[in-house]
């Protein structure tokens, strides 16, 4: 049955995050942006609320998706709402502070490939490391795919790996890695031979402290400044063979390594889209409330009609993007292939949210760009742009969509 009302659990989650966002996170948002970090006591408290599990692991908003052994098995006859619930939670968290979402301890983007491709032992070992963060040290995981010369074109990666006894030897550089400096391990993609293309790819879980695995430059960014973006350097880094994700067997099927990377995106793109919608909504609401307080509404002056029109256009584009996010996560929950829908949601959301922030500043007039007066708006404007970039730019999403709507199209 067609339904667009959140379940009770989702509504509670949304309201819960909204309140924490409004009264706790937003008030520290600017300081986090200036100090380039989220205060540890806050993260610690959040972990306590989350029961010690990785909060950044947004799939955990829904049912248990940690893959940890000993957890209660989900009743397979009941349809999972996990992806939809994650989207609801992600939008609300990003509404509060987008950078903070990315700073949540947990496996992060490294989680999905370990879950989808890791052997049972690997899942237990690497995901198990994030247990007990309510009392123990906070930990992060990371996902190392992008290189100076290869981003969305995953087949272009040049980081190399070669087998040497019971180890793999990795060499190369990874860049723009979220939480890369602090991560206890990073899923690193490398190739046995660039000539093999995707078939040559291997994914490794490389642990912090492994000799030859160093953190390079920490980037200065336009936005999301509270979150760490790092360069990672691999120099004759010897990784034990049991850290090859999925074991050798996972790579005997054609394109196995590449598919590992892509599977991650089908699940995460709608969530990135949801976060973008959250930031865009924050900017929209800010501008709307500014208009309410500062302009003489109800009087038919041309300025008002133009502002009203712009507000409505911003809002409906965000609503449209949210529907695409919901659609993509609904399909994911139903087990329906959703690569096209995932890309559509990400493309629409990144674009709508960026435009929302641009228009929100314009609506507020000169006030809008003054950091001391409307600092949050100025910050969101800086934060949001990357949502049209990471996890595949808008143009990359359109390539994915185009290939799905034109099956005859293999490459441009």
């Amino acid at each position: 049955m067609i339904d667009f009302v959140l379940s009770k659990k989702q509504q509670e989650l949304k309201e819960g995050i909204h309140n924490v966002g409004k009264f706790v996170i937003r008030p520290m948002s600017l300081e986090m942006d200036r100090n380039h970090e989220v205060p540890e006591p806050f993260l610690r408290n959040f972990m306590k609320l989350a029961g010690g599990r990785g909060g950044q692991d947004i799939e955990n908003f829904g049912e248990d998706g940690s893959g940890e052994e000993g957890k209660k098995e989900r009743d397979p006859s009941k349809i999972s709402e996990a992806n939809r619930t994650s989207a609801v939670g992600a939008e609300e968290l990003a509404w509060a502070d987008a950078a903070m979402v990315l700073c949540m301890p947990g496996a992060g983007l490294g989680g999905p490939p370990v879950k989808s491709t890791g052997t049972p032992e690997q899942r237990k070992r690497f995901l198990g490391m994030f247990k007990g963060m309510d009392t123990g040290p906070l930990k992060w995981g990371a996902y190392g795919l992008t290189e100076p010369g290869a981003g969305s074109d995953v087949s272009g990666i040049r980081s190399s790996c070669r087998k040497d006894g019971k180890h793999w030897v990795l060499n190369g550089r990874k860049c723009y890695i979220t939480n890369g400096g602090r991560a206890i391990w990073t899923v690193i993609f490398a190739t046995i031979d660039p000539a093999l293309g995707r078939a040559g790819h291997r994914a490794f879980v490389v642990e912090k402290g492994t000799p030859g695995f160093e953190v390079g430059k920490i980037e200065e960014k336009m936005g999301l400044r509270a979150n760490e973006t790092a360069e990672l350097v691999l120099e004759d880094c010897r990784v034990p063979e049991e850290n090859l994700l999925g074991g050798e067997a996972a790579y005997t099927t054609k394109e196995g390594g590449f598919m590992t990377a892509m599977k991650t995106f089908d699940n995460t793109r709608p969530l990135v889209g949801a976060m973008a919608v959250g930031i865009g909504r924050a900017a929209y609401e800010y501008a709307r409330d500014f208009v309410k307080e500062n302009y003489l509404i109800g009087r038919p002056i041309p300025r008002y009609a133009a502002i009203a029109a712009k507000l409505s256009q911003v809002s409906r584009k965000l609503d449209a993007a949210r529907m695409l996010v919901w659609r993509a996560t609904y399909m994911a929950d139903m087990g329906i292939p959703n690569a096209k829908e995932a890309s559509m949601s990400k493309a629409a959301a990144g674009q709508a949210a960026t435009q929302a922030c641009i228009d929100a500043i314009e609506i507020c007039g000169a006030h809008g760009s003054i950091a001391t007066e409307h600092a949050l708006l100025e910050k969101w404007f800086r934060d949001v742009k990357v949502y049209d970039i990471f996890e595949g730019t808008g143009n990359i999403q359109r390539i994915v969509i185009a290939k799905r709507i034109m099956p005859g199209l293999k490459a441009f």
Binding site: M1, L311, S312, A320, W326, R398, I405
Partner: protein
């Protein structure tokens, strides 16, 4: 729980209307265009399927299936021939307005003959717009004056969908001139009323299968019982009209989604087959990205329309449903125009030639955006609600002061 799966019943109806649209409407789209009407046998079929009564409440003799089911079916009609969707017989906008303004008994009585065996030949119409704004005062030029046991209506109404065929009109006129847009009244006027003259039919840009026309009322006398919603306060009457225009916008938007889908699909097919520089034009990024954008437009429009229709059916707070409808319709109407435009552009020169259907879809896409409150008006409504501005009828009703529309 967020769910996009139609019920079994909805799926079955959607399939049967899709079948009707594909096998009956689509092949005859040019025939209907030339005939400037939906052929009688097609109207008969649609009437037998009960297409005019999908969301009319059961108490008023309808099927009571709700707005969500209605918009799902309207999309299918629009995906074959949007003009036909407007040109089909039945109570149409008249039915929707009567349900909103009248009592259950009035609605049942006024809609009964549209359901009869000769219903395929009966059309209802809403006479709202006027060709020119009133420069003397706010409100319509057309007046209804209380005289004895009834009202005497005088004036000229324009841009009426199916006016040339209609057997029954709902005419809006100024009852209290001093109240501007708050002083309106709605009156049922039969075609055979001595004071009613059906005027010329407009030649239109698109949607030729529907007849757009004018009526003139020259001292047309109607009994007091012909006035609908006369007992409502000014605010309640405005709210009722806002409900009517919001739901109507959704119905039109659903047809626009179908129209956009049609345009997108033929553009896609053309781009996959037409070759240049050794490969299908769709395999060039500029073309492929355009198709991807239009696909996103079609999909997101549909979900917005569904969500708004769902809000009405599940009795969400009224302002929420009105706002959702305004936003969905504004988005869908603009998306349909983009898609029709790109459909012609992607076809290149052949898109401009009437041998292909692309040019008609582009014309229809512009015309359809004028068949309900326009995106500009809808944006003002949505913003007014979100800004908690007073819902002044002069602002939220699609009056000729702002922009004339077809009703």
């Amino acid at each position: 729980m967020i769910d996009f799966e139609p019920s079994e019943d909805q799926r079955m109806m959607q399939d049967s209307v899709a079948q009707f649209a594909k096998s009956t409407l689509a092949p005859r789209i040019r025939e209907s265009e030339k005939l400037r009407a939906v052929p009688e046998d097609v109207r008969r079929l649609a009437h037998e399927m009960g297409l005019g009564f999908i969301d009319v409440p059961e108490s008023a003799g309808g099927q009571g299936l709700g707005l969500l089911t209605r918009v799902m079916l309207e999309e299918e009609l629009g995906s074959a021939d949007a003009g036909a969707a407007f040109g089909l017989s039945g109570p149409g906008t008249f039915g929707a307005a009567v349900v909103e303004l009248g009592t259950v008994e009035q609605a049942a009585e006024l809609l009964a003959d549209f359901g009869s065996t000769d219903g395929h030949a009966r059309f209802g119409a809403v006479a709202w717009s006027e060709a020119k704004p009133n420069k003397e005062r706010a409100g319509f030029v057309t007046t209804a004056v209380l005289e004895g046991d009834g009202y005497k209506i005088t004036g000229k109404k324009a841009f009426i969908i199916n006016a040339p065929h209609a057997s029954r009109f709902l005419v809006f006129a100024q009852v209290d001139a001093s109240k501007g847009w708050g002083g309106l009244g709605a009156f049922v006027v039969e075609k055979d009323n001595a004071g009613l003259k059906v005027g010329s039919r407009h030649d239109t840009l698109g949607l030729e299968a529907a007849a757009f026309g004018e009526i003139t009322l020259d001292n047309a006398i109607v009994p007091a019982s012909a006035r609908l919603g006369g007992g409502l306060s000014e605010a309640d009457f405005t709210k009722a009209m806002l409900r009517y225009f919001s739901k109507q916008a959704l119905v039109v938007a659903a047809r626009a989604v179908g129209l956009a889908r049609f345009a997108y699909e033929i553009a896609l097919e053309y781009c996959e087959t037409r070759k240049t520089f050794g490969k299908p034009i769709g395999h060039f990024q500029a073309v492929a990205f355009n198709l991807a954008d239009r696909h996103m437009d079609v999909e997101s429009s549909r979900w917005l329309v569904w969500k708004a229709a769902f809000a009405w059916d599940t009795k969400r707070p009224e302002n929420e449903a009105i706002r959702a409808s305004a936003q969905a319709a504004a988005f869908a109407l603009e998306a349909a125009m983009r898609t029709g435009d790109d459909c012609v552009a992607l076809h290149g020169g052949s898109g401009f030639i009437r041998d292909l259907i692309a040019e008609k879809l582009m014309r229809d896409a512009k015309q359809i955006a004028l068949c309900c409150a326009t995106p500009e008006q809808l944006d003002q409504i949505a913003a007014a609600i979100d800004l908690r501005a007073p819902l002044d009828p002069a602002l939220v009703l699609p009056t000729p002061d702002a922009q004339a529309i077809f009703t």
